[in-house]
């Protein structure tokens, strides 16, 4: 099964806005998206930092949240996006 990660921050408004879309994606497509909170969980934070070169290259040089990443392909997308964009990323 495809494994995808969403890095998010508990208090980040864009992350909050994306949550229902991610729920919908999981229900509609069955793609597993692991949602990992990074400001209140150092293990998740370190995992996100381990992808820093790939994430920074796509996210203004920084570790922004929300970040959507495919850990194998290092396919990175960040920020608040419409459902279709999220789905296209997940199905790539």
């Amino acid at each position: 099964m495809l494994r995808k990660i969403m890095f998010h921050g508990r208090e980040c408004p864009h992350c909050k806005a994306m949550m229902p879309l991610v729920e919908k994606l999981i229900q509609e497509t069955g793609i597993a998206v692991e949602r990992l909170e990074v400001w209140h969980d150092e293990k998740n934070a370190d995992l996100m930092r381990s992808f820093r070169p790939a994430i920074a290259a796509k996210c203004g040089g920084q570790l922004r949240v929300p970040t959507f990443i495919d850990p194998d392909a290092s396919d990175v997308m960040c920020g608040e996006v419409p459902y279709e964009t999220l789905k296209a990323w997940a199905e790539r």
Partner: protein, 144 residues
């Protein structure tokens, strides 16, 4: 370009920068800054804390309103968004030492991470620069 501490020999204002200010913004004396060791600067800056936080949520709210007042941006009028961001900023301060941006993660590199202390230099963000309805990455500040 290595930043250093500078101290006004008249009023003890502290400046951290590559060069000293020509004119002291507090006492208006010219050429008043001398390079100062960081221990000295930190001792002056590290004023004794009163009981409880030295900068409350209300203090911070007031500070960002005042800061935005004379700028081309304002604090987001959506109170739910603002309060959520303040939750994040104060949680980050408590857990990680500084009011880091809730919408980015610190790298653990000092030079990088001081760029995400709120407010950051968001007019450079692509979500703000050149946008008609620009906002900082989190949406705490929006263009007027």
């Amino acid at each position: 370009m290595q930043k250093k501490f500078w101290r006004c020999y008249v009023c003890n204002d502290i400046h951290w920068g590559v060069k000293p200010p020509d004119l002291c913004p507090t006492c208006r004396v010219k050429s008043a800054y001398i390079e100062t060791p960081s221990r000295e600067a930190r001792t002056i800056l590290d004023q004794p804390l009163a009981d409880g936080p030295d900068f409350s949520r209300d203090d911070f709210r007031r500070a960002i309103e005042t800061f935005a007042r004379d700028n081309e941006f304002r604090v987001n009028p959506d109170p739910v968004k603002v309060e959520s961001l303040l939750d994040g900023l104060f949680a980050n301060e408590e857990n990680h030492g500084l009011k880091y941006c809730p919408c980015r993660l610190r790298t653990k590199e000092f030079e990088e991470d001081i760029k995400i202390i709120c407010p950051c230099h968001f007019p450079a963000h692509e979500t703000y620069k050149g946008q008609e309805q620009g906002e900082c990455w989190c949406g705490l500040f929006i263009k007027r």
